[in-house]
Symmetry: C2
DNA sequence: AAGAATAAAGTTACCGATAACGTAACATCG
DNA sequence: CGATGTTACGTTATCGGTAACTTTATTCTT
């Protein structure tokens, strides 16, 4: 074994005068070896600086991959960012690796990503999307691996679902806003109100208002990605329409903060003239002059629980098909 | 070929009565086949819905992997998020896949991530970190693959470097702030001023002030991760010390916005009483009542250029060892 | 038209780990 | 004490591509 080529299982085995199967068993923590053999193997592995070759392991008989695919709407959102951190960390601790992708709320991009992922023969897949294309569903079926759908709770999960109801988040916020006396509420949305989880919150919000015998007085749905700008200009446009809402519900906190910035600039008092509420529990929302009314999402917990559930399913341990991660309405003082 | 087991190259070849090598050549776009053969292969591939097995391809002779490892400080930052989006997208377009990790500014976490990555035999590695551990450097050498160091420009890159000088960013901002008449400047930092790119900006800033014959009147370096909170409370603590700075330079825009929120709440006028400047060119910074003075970073361009350079190096095409991505000081109106 | 050059394939030998199976040595038990 | 586990290994086949090499068919040259 020269210094330039990295040692393989076989090198370790040859050095010790055992079969590579024995070394493999020790390293995987399988059974069928004595303590003496284990110690000798571990020592030799440490001495040579042996690095396992996951490629070879995953390539052989199926069911030995430790690769997990994870796809979220976008990587630029702190919410999905902290979710991914938690997923990454939890999976790493359990001995799995992550391949991350984003779909920008486009089912076809998700499908393209999944097709690429499939060629790496992952052990399982985690998806954060409201809707999947037919091709995606077919691919998932063909792959025959555990699937965790996270973020929104679907009524009928493909396999596992971990998340919460965006519909209920919207419903709850509507009740909260109406309970504080708001009657003429507007909504500022994004993404052209495509079938995303944000759209579900919107629908829940409508339902909540309907229950209270009210309806939106005005809505402004931008085509853009959600963000501070979108919230700022969406609010400006909405107010130019002279519908005079007494409160605005935003697609998310970034947009609400953008809206807050516009309202402040326009001399509108929050919440006296117009109340606002966001969604997501962004850190920035807590440092506004008034604490933003929002729904806090425990992304770290969600990521951890989802990763653990997916691996349990993978290992054949019992898991609930659906796990609800409770969210929390933060009253704040902007409504 | 029954419906349940996915077709392999060999299945395609057998169906067509050619060797699997011919099919492989067609699919990889290598040379050595006729147009007729190409068409027949492509047709059969489409008909059977053949999915290549990247695992097998990467497992064979080295140099055939299409996996690229990318490690950034954290996934929760929109800046790194958009960088990763660009890298992901560019690499995907070039036929490569990404394995993403984060190191939280800890060299040991980067090393642990790299060790895991190495077991997947990637074709190349992209790192965003100021410092690497000895183990990381040894691993990179042993792996023998192209390495792109991004974000900050190192003086002596391991292989390739794509980015900009954080030191110069700090230097330039110091000059800008002094040119607008500020003499008593404070600094609010994070991460305990560890050797990160933020620390480099700090050093450049000090240099810039020194050139103008000035020095920081006060600094407040938090141990935490940078963020809105950190900026808010860091500013509060700083002002409680009664050093009365006439301007504050922040670790980044999030912290500057946090600081702005505190100043506003405390009745301090920006920039009349105290001017502020951040770094990063966050979207949110542009919707403050006054546009934040900051340094804009073209993350998307950086990600695209870095990915392209890395692949050029991988393919043996000529590339500059060092590529500078110009940043832009946004004057704003907060100083 | 013979020989050289080129194009279009086919053949072979892996890459490194693991599942499945085989087996020798030893313990256990009725 | 023979029959039957149990433990601790060893052996073999194999996953699906690809580089390197070889062979065959075709075209070109003089």
């Amino acid at each position: 074994m020269d210094k330039h080529s990295k040692p393989s299982l076989e090198d370790i085995a040859r050095n010790l005068g055992v079969s590579k199967m024995t070394v493999s068993r020790v390293l995987r923590g399988a059974s069928g070896f004595s303590d003496t053999t284990r110690d000798r193997v571990m020592q030799e592995v440490a001495r040579t600086g042996y690095l396992p070759n996951r490629l070879a392991a995953a390539f052989g008989k199926s069911g030995t991959s430790t690769l997990i695919g994870v796809c979220v709407p976008r990587l630029t959102s702190p919410l999905f960012g902290s979710l991914l951190e938690a997923v990454n960390q939890t999976l790493a601790r359990l001995g799995y690796q992550t391949m991350i992708g984003s779909h920008n709320q486009l089912p076809d991009e998700e499908e393209a990503w999944l097709r690429t992922l499939a060629s790496w023969k992952p052990a399982a897949v985690m998806l954060a999307a409201r809707t999947h294309s037919k091709g995606t569903l077919r691919l998932l079926r063909d792959m025959g691996v555990p699937v965790a759908e996270i973020w929104d709770l679907t009524t009928k999960p493909i396999d596992l679902a971990i998340g919460f109801s965006h519909f209920d988040n919207g419903l709850e916020m509507a009740r909260c806003m109406m309970a504080t006396g708001h009657k003429k509420i507007g909504y500022v949305g994004a993404l052209g109100n495509r079938n995303t989880s944000g759209h579900l919150r919107y629908q829940g919000f409508l339902r909540g208002m309907g229950e209270g015998g009210a309806a939106l007085v005005v809505e402004e749905i931008l085509q853009d990605q959600p963000g501070f700008y979108a919230g700022y200009y969406g609010t400006e446009t909405m107010l130019a329409r002279n519908k005079e809402p007494d409160a605005i519900y935003y697609h998310d906190d970034e947009m609400a903060i953008g809206g807050y910035a516009y309202l402040t600039k326009a001399g509108v008092r929050v919440p006296d003239d117009i109340g606002i509420a966001g969604w997501g529990g962004m850190e920035a929302a807590s440092i506004l002059p008034r604490r933003l009314t929002t729904t806090a999402i425990p992304t770290t917990r969600l990521g951890k629980v989802a990763a653990e559930a997916l691996i349990s399913r993978l290992r054949g341990d019992p898991v609930d098909d659906v796990t609800i991660i409770p969210t929390r309405l933060v009253p704040g003082s902007t409504i």
